[in-house]
């Protein structure tokens, strides 16, 4: 994948239990990837249902959420669709959390959701880093 992905019609699923974080993530992707279709889920269960129905290309995934964790959700998504690209975007920046992400070959970006951290997430999703 290349940076051109940002100007192609793609689907992104934003998974985060914080509405404010989802708003910030959405605003970034609306500005930088105007052709992408954005969807939001507030929990792992909701994300899995939406992913099954709409087959997103990309996912930003929080870790600590009510119910299923972001890592569990990501694992189940990858079992269903090995091509889906997921970036973990989380405040849980403990080494152990980074290690879990690395063991699952998932990219890891530390919150807060800012222009800089979301650019990092975008670069991971479209494969420029």
């Amino acid at each position: 994948m290349s940076q051109n992905e940002t100007s192609l019609p793609r689907k992104l699923l934003i998974v985060d239990d914080s509405k404010v974080s989802r708003m910030r993530i959405r605003a970034f992707f609306v500005a930088h990837c105007p052709l992408w279709t954005l969807q939001e889920a507030g929990s792992g269960d909701e994300a899995l249902n939406m992913a099954a129905d709409d087959k997103p290309d990309f996912v930003t995934m929080d870790v600590n959420m009510p119910g299923m964790s972001g890592f569990e959700t990501a694992q189940l998504m990858l079992v269903r669709d090995a091509d889906i690209r997921i970036v973990m975007l989380t405040a849980n920046i403990q080494d152990s959390s980074r290690q879990v992400a690395a063991s699952m070959r998932l990219n890891f970006v530390a919150k807060p959701a800012t222009e800089a951290s979301l650019q990092q997430a975008l670069d991971h999703l479209v494969g420029t880093t």
């Binding site: 404010v20 708003m23 080494d95 800012t114 951290s117």
Partner: protein
């Protein structure tokens, strides 16, 4: 039981670094410079911790609390004066967000703010002491210092007043807006002992490196 000078120094340094990361996160969310105080680390009683805090702040508070469980359990609490709450939310959601909807997202925004700042401090603590702490989801409440400094899951009754707690209180301020806040990490006696045990290993390792 009191902290030795070395323990005090090591804990202060660990929390100092963690709070620096938390301040950087707060800056990223609000675009405000955030000077922070050097943490005050004390092994003290619940009553004294409460009094220490009340000497600085008597206003109603918006508290964001998360419980971290691992080799020890700590209640981590981020506090702002209640009157600053919507101001902080405004800084997080931006000027374009409609005024009428600010209250609707306030709980969520404060929870996320606490989640990010508390995780920053706890992550540094966990890395420094080579361990893992599992955090609960943030709980936001409008409260006061009496409730904040009660042991988790118990009422602020007299029975608990002399219970030992390791209390770390850190002041910070969003300079331009003059919004002050506080971080506190409360551990009961068993957890304090476990933390100190870990700390002793950390201090030993540091001594070998140096």
């Amino acid at each position: 039981m009191a902290l030795s000078e070395l323990e005090q120094d090591a804990l202060t340094e660990i929390f100092n670094i963690g709070v620096g990361v938390a301040a950087a996160a707060l800056y990223a969310m609000t675009s405000e410079h955030v000077p922070v105080s050097v943490p005050v680390v004390e092994l003290t009683s619940q009553r004294r911790a409460k009094q220490h805090f009340l000497d600085r702040e008597q206003r109603q508070l918006c508290a964001i609390r998360q419980t971290y469980v691992g080799e020890f359990t700590t209640d981590a609490v981020l506090m702002f004066p209640q009157e600053s709450r919507l101001h902080l939310v405004r800084m997080m959601v931006g000027d374009d967000f409609p005024e009428a909807s600010l209250e609707e997202v306030a709980q969520d925004a404060m929870g996320e703010l606490g989640n990010i700042m508390l995780n920053a401090v706890i992550s540094n603590l966990a890395s420094s002491l080579c361990m893992r702490l599992e955090g609960s989801l943030p709980v936001v409440s409008l409260t006061d210092a009496n409730a904040v400094f009660s042991r988790p899951g118990r009422d602020a009754g007299a029975d608990d007043d002399e219970a030992p707690v390791l209390a770390l209180v850190i002041d910070f301020e969003l300079s331009a807006q003059r919004v002050g806040g506080y971080l506190a990490f409360l551990l009961d006696d068993d957890s304090s002992q476990n933390l100190l045990h870990r700390l002793a290993t950390h201090i030993g390792n540091e001594a070998r490196i140096n």
